[in-house]
Symmetry: C2
């Protein structure tokens, strides 16, 4: 008897036929003795349709009202999926984020899950029901609805799996698992059977779109075993879990386990930041307060002794918020101006084996040089090296890195 949390994305529930297919899969997983909690996203492009409608009414809608609007997407999916499961003879109940006890921090559109009060979910499971929970949303103690931001359904699923102490959290997607790089760019990409939380986290942050970084973080924190697999077949996908001995052995031979691309990058440069204590702190605190995730940060060499240029990257999705924040903070800290530049991609190589293998970054730069590729920014972690390059060069560079680090399939 196992407790399984399953998560299906928006494309898996885009129409009645697909919802029926998901229902079948869920009922199969439940079988005669398993408990199943299913987390779903909004149907297909519901979210985009609603956002478009909102734009027609208000160029800058309040985030709270966007949350109110967006949350309806998942609420529709859960009700429909519950009905489809019931039609297959299995009892089911749909729960909104609030009803499932997903307590969030009250921040609209980019809320964090503070805690999950599982008693309602457990009660329904005890009654033999399949529990269908709205992903991407939660609420605060006043009954206000918050959304977790795009892709937040992965986080909902992992958080529920952690709170319920589930045996596994199955994330269903349209690919067979996590690949060494995007198979659409590099046909020789291979599926990774097992990957550690840290590597998966770097892969996710680096732009491998299969899992949301925050969901991996959470999984690592609570030791939730994630199984990333296809909703179209029954193949084994990729298991994300704590690094085991076998993996460590494997990594000795495999320095780099994956190559990732993030093509949704906005480069920001703030000019003439006073070289005074606290300037950088004020700048990045303001960005953090606006819930903008800053990725690569580079303080370029002194222009004068008193002033520096500061460059960093953010997600293109945050463009509006970045402008609003910088318009305010740039004059406050006494910097002169700022620019936003698009058209870059961030290419990353990831691998836990890097720690013990010096020269990996150098090898990467060499590959980029061979491709005549100009590097705009560099950032590194213990198990990752990322380079910001022209978007036009990205595909060729990724294929070359994939080959150079021995990842190509036979």
């Amino acid at each position: 008897m196992a407790l399984i949390v399953q998560k299906f994305g928006g494309s898996s529930v885009a129409d009645a036929e697909r919802i029926k297919r998901v229902a079948k899969r869920v009922v199969e997983a439940a079988g005669t003795e398993n408990s199943v909690v299913v987390v779903v996203s909004a149907m297909g492009d519901t979210t985009d349709i609603l956002l478009d409608l909102a734009k027609q009414l208000n160029e800058h809608p309040q985030p709270r009202e966007i949350d109110m609007l967006m949350a309806t997407g998942e609420q529709q999916s859960i009700a429909l999926l519950a009905m489809a499961i019931q039609a297959m003879g299995k009892d089911a109940i749909s729960l909104t984020g609030l009803q499932a006890g997903v307590m969030t921090d009250g921040v609209s559109r980019k809320s964090k899950i503070l805690s999950i009060d599982c008693h309602r979910v457990e009660e329904e499971l005890e009654q033999g029901k399949i529990v269908v929970v709205a992903g991407f949303q939660g609420g605060d103690e006043h009954g206000e609805i918050n959304t977790l931001g795009r892709g937040g359904s992965d986080t909902s699923a992992v958080a529920l799996a952690a709170a319920l102490d589930a045996d596994v959290c199955e994330i269903f997607t349209d690919v067979d698992g996590v690949y060494t790089t995007d198979p659409r760019i590099v046909p020789k990409a291979k599926k990774i059977p097992v990957i550690s939380y840290d590597e998966m986290l770097e892969m996710a942050c680096a732009g491998a779109g299969v899992l949301q970084p925050r969901s991996v973080e959470l999984a690592k924190q609570f030791g939730v075993k994630i199984h990333v697999r296809s909703s179209f077949n029954y193949n084994e996908g990729t298991i994300v879990q704590e690094e085991c001995e076998m993996q460590k052995e494997l990594e000795k031979s495999m320095v780099v386990s994956g190559v990732a691309l993030d093509d949704n990058v906005l480069q920001v440069t703030v000019f003439d930041t006073p070289d005074a204590p606290g300037s950088a702190s004020k700048l990045f605190t303001a960005l953090a307060d606006a819930r903008i995730n800053v990725d690569m940060i580079v303080q370029s060499g002194n222009r004068t002794e008193q002033e520096n240029d500061m460059s960093f990257t953010v997600s293109s999705d945050d463009k509006d918020k970045v402008i609003a924040t910088l318009d305010k903070i740039v004059p406050e800290i006494g910097a002169s101006s700022y620019t936003l530049t698009e058209g870059f991609g961030k290419v990353s190589i990831i691998g836990a084996g890097m720690i013990t293998n010096p020269g990996v970054a150098a090898r990467m730069f060499q590959v980029l040089a061979e491709k005549q590729c100009n590097i705009k920014m560099i950032s590194t972690s213990e198990i990752k090296v990322s380079c910001l390059i022209d978007l036009a060069d990205c595909n060729a560079v990724i294929a070359a890195l994939h080959t150079a680090f021995g990842l190509d399939a036979e």
Copy 2:
């Protein structure tokens, strides 16, 4: 400084342009000093689209899941309307039924409002916000979402107006007010400037679709002044309020104030009901438990000394529930069988003046006889006479009654 509750139906918020028009109207009503609470229904045919999707997944979906699904329609409208109002420079906030404190009795799809806890709405009004509330829905103490059934947004608006002690509850519709009969059937129909709760209630029950009967009942109970008016112009509509002296004077000359048609009638006949104490009670209790409103009831003359045939009418919308209920209760009470017959219309004449004017029913039957119209069932109240007749005869009969009772416009 007035407190105004406004209600806009689904066709008024069917697309972005119409939502903007409603926002403009709301902002105008608020002006510089009025407090406004707006109740809205789901956009256009959202409800039908969602119900259709549900049917594709499950022929007999659980009412609870239908509530979960349906409630999203209003939640979308309120968020969008709040955004549109904000775009016009006026602060606004959207609240779901639950957030607005609309407590319901936990019955899915046909819930009743038990009470309204106004503190959140009042708090937001005090902050100078226009409060946009989801009609048609409420919730129970466990956070379960209930819907009030079709047309329930009128009831939401009146209940809020009562709870907030509003000066007026404006119900916006696509006609100019309440007419002596349906102007599409009888072009000579006139707008009624003022009508009493009782007459409006009988009109509404008799099929005049402008207001939901329950909303009128509630308005009468709490003395809420209703203003039924057009969303397309600024004409005065129809005021529904307690009968005043002037009206009483007027009624002496106007015996009948309106003629109504309900063309959504299903006639049910239960055969050979045992003539034992409690048979009728068991039958109608079972129907009431299933939340089926029974309208006209006729116990036709004894077939034998021990058994009677029992006929009654219900709304065609309740057909499925009626079948489910009768399949169970008819054998239980020892009746032999039942039939459902469609194709009838209920024509009613309404007027508070009837009480003091004998012979009104007789005059109505005479008009029907002149039209060669066969009467299937008759029911009367102090201020209403209703006849069930063939649907094909209804329009001619309504026009004839409108003329016979002196309602035709000059």
